[in-house]
Symmetry: C2
Subunit: 253 residues, 2 copies
């Protein structure tokens, strides 16, 4: 539908009006009643229909805008032109990064989630990766081969390699979750690479070999082997990081 019917806007009866306005708009979106491109009623109209103040409606819209759920249509007036927008992947990956950074999970839970997600991603990639996807992975591995590569850049390339596998998996939702969780680990992993000191050089060689063996199984279309190697790779480096971890309070336990 392109215009909400009057019937679908029920008056909001309880307190914390702004959150209840958000809840009701969310319900309509999750139900598929409001879809990308649909225009919300104007601020005054919504306030009347929901029986809340215009300030509550304004606050709710602002909150949904901040989350990328709605946007103000160009050139529209104050009382109209808020449109449901296609949520960019970045909105999700950003919030997941915040969530992992702030929600104080045991690091072990993040690692478990990463293993689950990257096993799924690499299995999908072994089935679905295109020659272009494979070329991108090979280029990232080559870039990581440079022995003079500093730890910051190595860490970036390592992240990009795992992101490339997630993208090649072809499932956007799984890829978004995989990327967000992997990116949330980027800083802690960099921290660990510094904490490793001189040992880093040999650890990095191990990571290069892991990546190559994962890539070989993936390119051969052997999803089961690729999954096993991915899990070994993630858990193996995690053990090294845990040993090198100098800020135990960082892991949230």
């Amino acid at each position: 539908m392109s215009e909400p019917s009057d019937a679908m806007w029920r008056p909001v009866l309880r307190s914390r009006a702004y959150e209840l306005v958000v809840d009701q708009i969310e319900e309509l979106i999750v139900a598929g009643t409001l879809r990308v491109g649909d225009r919300l009623p104007g601020e005054r109209e919504l306030a009347t229909r929901l029986e809340v103040s215009r300030a509550a409606v304004r606050e709710a819209i602002r909150s949904l805008e901040a989350q990328g759920v709605v946007r103000s249509a160009v050139g529209s007036g104050k009382d109209a032109g808020t449109v449901v927008s296609a949520l960019p992947s970045e909105a999700l990956t950003r919030l997941l990064r915040f969530h992992v950074a702030l929600a104080n999970f045991p690091r072990q839970h993040v690692v478990e989630a990463r293993v689950m997600l990257e096993r799924e991603s690499v299995r999908n990639a072994a089935e679905r990766a295109t020659p272009t996807d494979l070329k991108a992975m090979r280029e990232l591995m080559s870039a990581m081969d440079d022995p003079d590569r500093d730890r910051e850049r190595f860490n970036e390339l390592d992240t990009e390699f795992h992101v490339a596998i997630a993208e090649a998996g072809g499932n956007r939702l799984v890829a978004d979750m995989t990327i967000a969780v992997r990116e949330s680990m980027q800083r802690p992993l960099l921290h660990a690479s510094h904490a490793l000191g001189e040992a880093w050089a040999s650890i990095a060689d191990g990571l290069r070999q892991d990546h190559r063996s994962i890539y070989e199984a993936l390119e051969a279309g052997d999803g089961v082997t690729a999954q096993q190697r991915m899990e070994t790779h993630i858990l193996g480096f995690w053990d090294v990081c845990a040993a090198a971890e100098e800020q135990p309070e960082r892991d949230g336990r």
Copy 2:
């Protein structure tokens, strides 16, 4: 640290100042430099340090507040008292629901993600579920046994059953993702149950049996069987729903 040092605030040089302010705050959070409970510099001070307008800082803070990343500390003045807050699970599950509803994924990708997440959750639950967790699951199954249960309530209880398994898995991050994806399917599944018409009664019996067999494997600590039964359950009902699906554009393809 409880007070950010001057050094960590680099002036923002490019345009779209408000987003760059958010980016820089995110960097400090993901890096672990800013942690839950840390206070941000006041609006005026941040604007000076980042060399952006106070309006840009205000907009950035508002956006982060809307996402639950920061909150205004009680009784603090206009130019102080924005504190990094522990992001509630609800903030993530809500955005994931929005994301699944708006990001126009092929429904098949959402089902794949659900299978991945619920296989992991039920495997964890088979290892970790407490007697209290198991009791809650049994009560939900009993509530679903009522033959007069309407489809709305059955759907709610079904969702609660899957959520209970995710919670029992004991991995908060995996549980949050599982709950969000399962909840994002609640309305489409309800829609399908209505589209099934008279066939619903026998389908519902099949779902009750699925739940019981998943529960039995879980209670017996047999994670592998529980995973297989969960996957069969999810894919089986999805096939039924796909057949009953009366609004093909709803599945995002």
